[in-house]
Symmetry: C3
Subunit: 342 residues, 3 copies
């Protein structure tokens, strides 16, 4: 943990101080839990009342909010908060273990400078890894895998043969990359396995969540685009293409050969069927089921997924179905009566 | 496997015998498969007809049911059945392997009495583990993890640095605890990783299912309350608080900063969005999508989730939407005619 | 990679050639990416326009399609394509590593001929494995597991004690088989673990996807029938029976004691509640929630799941709920007016 002043933090994050810039800040905490000496942030209006009661040394807020206590006013308060946390706490340090004698590294594997391979990790033949990578215990890096610089592969993650991993990629524990796609040819009631000869390609700056599973392609590659962040227990099917800078939160499922553009946001448990094309900058609400192509900038939710504004009103009305049905029945009776009375 | 009599079992479980208490019971089986010498139970009226055909030595039943064969009548038949199975079969025995020479244990790690660390397990620096714990092959216990007594960590489970595990905790295979939360600050189209400095705290008597993933907190801890049972492939987001004695069955997803009270039951594939507050004793049906706070004792299902009784009727009517629409159209025509005829 | 001619491929797959049978084929690729010398296939009419622009050496098509370029006409083009890919590329080769000195194999474990156990794999006491099996690094094979011939168990998969694995079974990375079922008896607000004394039985020719979790039974076995293919992150609850030759695509969840017949197809993220009976040849659409028994040949989707044709029309109408409600209100007003004018 570092120690800094509010003024220094403001300069570091490009914000400005309201209150005493000399306030000492040593760490970060939540609005509810922060004590003097700690910085916190407000990013969700739901927590606005806590601004009055927080004991925090300072609060990072957006530009529209400048009334209380010591503040660090930032254009993008969550981003400024991220910078503050990195400055004060840093990212997880990785112990420089070098090459553990208990790791199994193929003689022809080539690793760059400053790589650390922990005990019980396996690096197979033909693997090429760049500089500054950390391979944690129990990781399996299959034959012919190529990996860039500055990657962190957490315990028991498995990277199958021939997968391509960019630089600054983080793979959390128990994730699988490049396992066989779900590809079977059904003939006379039997399902025959199709060799999956495509690869899984994970581009630069991607993070893959714990327990996720990114299939290799049947023929062409499965691709996770640069800068995309994949949550826990997400599955991406064979040949699917996720564009750059997407957010796929936990438990999303993308079926084979689907294509997702850049800067898309997929909520929890979203499902996308195979072979559909999702445009750029698309937002898909939690649990949505997407069965059709979506244009750039679309915002949808529901299963089946429909335009978000429409969906908000429509799905809320399911609750009123019994009432609506009763009203229809009543109308029919009134109408019967009305017609008879004619 | 033990051998006992029906009378002894009744005493052991606090029930009473109908029929011959001297019946020898050696093991447990299902109503359909049980043979003489085996005990079984009836807990679901769906299986009531099997009572007449079962060959079981005895059946554990509730108090309202006393007509057939040799019975063990119990106030809580499923609980009595559990006691019978524990008596007859016991829990899985764990081989006392001691400290495997093929495990990697940091010199400064402190383990209590009667701990067993299998081959290929990694116990990192600063770890403190209580007594009678079993750490199976391939398990990773990260730096600074604290663990209580009588824990069982099954193969290839991964516990990240700084996580806190109570006593009598069971972690099934390939589960991840304390991996980084899904926390990114998006700025100018790039997603910047926020150091996740909170912890994952697993309280006493919790069980975590195979392949589950419990994120560490961004700032404050993610907590799984005492006695809660987490199924397979459940994900709990950063900073979420699950109260004590909850049941989260497989594939549930809880987003970050959500709070769930005590004694809640969440069905399969339930999703809860971030920052909502679920009360105590709440029941959430399978596949429900919860997007709002829920009061104590609420019972909901559906996506979006609504009050269960309402939901039962409402969601069943989706099927009738085409019919309802047709009837509306017909009414409009009749009305047109009716008005013209005026 | 092999080299062959289009004519040879046609003979190999039982199809026939349209165009030049002497065309040399060396590998397979997609319609979009295939170059001269590569074979591809058309199985989805969505990609029909690509037939005119593909540079592929030859295309495998169904019998109704015979107009363009060099074709291999097959009764079952996807099956013929599978045969072609196997011929040209083969399945993944598995390095014959023998028994790694870094594996931990119990003295009384019995392995057949030509088995390969990689470093950091654990084979416990009483295990019996047939011939030609590959056990990859980090795999755990628990006490008393029985496994047939020709199995491939990928890295870090975990097979619990007493599980039964048939022949030609493939288990992808990080999958769990035979972990404890989600079985607790709740008594006075506490959840008591019920020993799970049933087994997980995986029959011949089954494939289990990455990160999947197949629970052992409480009393009787959980069974995955012969030839069934289980996708990534699928969970099957204790005592559930999946019949032979089923397809369970990724993220499906089957609750305990459910029974699924033979040749069923379950789409992504489908959920099936406990104790229901699904017939044979049933198709269940993605994200469906099945809460009732289904007869042979049923085709359903939606949550709750209803008959597919009905569901297609009904779920599409949710979008029109606001409009329908407005129309009902309007009708009521017209009717009020109509009755008054009477």
């Amino acid at each position: 943990m570092a120690e800094t002043t509010l003024q220094q933090l403001a300069e570091h994050t490009g914000g400005r101080v309201v209150g005493d810039g000399a306030t000492i800040i040593t760490s970060a905490a939540t609005l509810e839990q922060a004590q003097p000496g700690q910085i916190t942030f407000l990013n969700n209006n739901k927590y606005l009342p806590l601004l009055k009661t927080t004991r925090a040394g300072a609060v990072i807020v957006g530009e529209e909010l400048e009334s209380v206590g010591a503040l660090l006013v930032a254009k993008d308060p969550y981003y400024a908060f991220m910078q503050a946390v990195v400055l004060l706490h840093g990212h997880r340090p990785h112990k420089p273990v070098g090459m553990s004698p208990l790791a199994q590294v193929a003689p022809d594997a080539r690793l760059g400078d400053n790589c650390h391979v922990h005990n019980f990790a396996t690096i197979c033949e033909g693997v090429i890894i760049g500089n500054n990578c950390h391979i944690y215990p129990g990781v399996f890096v299959g034959p012919g895998v190529r990996m860039g610089d500055d990657c962190i592969i957490y315990p028991n993650a498995v990277i199958y043969d021939g997968s391509v991993i960019g630089s600054r990629v983080i793979v959390q524990s128990n994730a699988s990359i490049g396992q066989d796609g779900y590809g079977f040819a059904t003939h006379s009631g039997r399902h025959h396995k199709i060799p999956q000869i495509g690869r899984a390609v994970i581009e630069d700056d991607v993070e893959i969540g714990a327990g996720s599973a990114i299939e290799r392609g049947t023929l062409d590659d499965t691709v996770i685009g640069a800068g995309s962040k994949i949550g826990d227990m997400v599955t991406v099917g064979h040949g699917a293409k996720i564009g750059p800078h997407c957010l796929l939160v936990p438990q999303v499922g993308i079926a084979g050969s689907a294509a997702v553009g850049h800067h898309c946001m997929l909520g929890g448990q979203v499902g996308i069927v195979g072979h559909v094309k999702i445009g750029n900058l698309v937002k898909i609400g939690a649990q949505a089921g997407v069965i059709n192509d979506l244009p750039d900038g679309a915002s949808v939710f529901g299963a089946p997924a429909i335009e978000a504004d429409k969906a908000r009103r429509a799905y809320a009305l399911i609750e009123y179905l019994p009432e609506m049905r009763k009203r229809i029945r009543k109308i029919e009776k009134r109408l019967d009566h009305c017609e008879i009375s004619d």
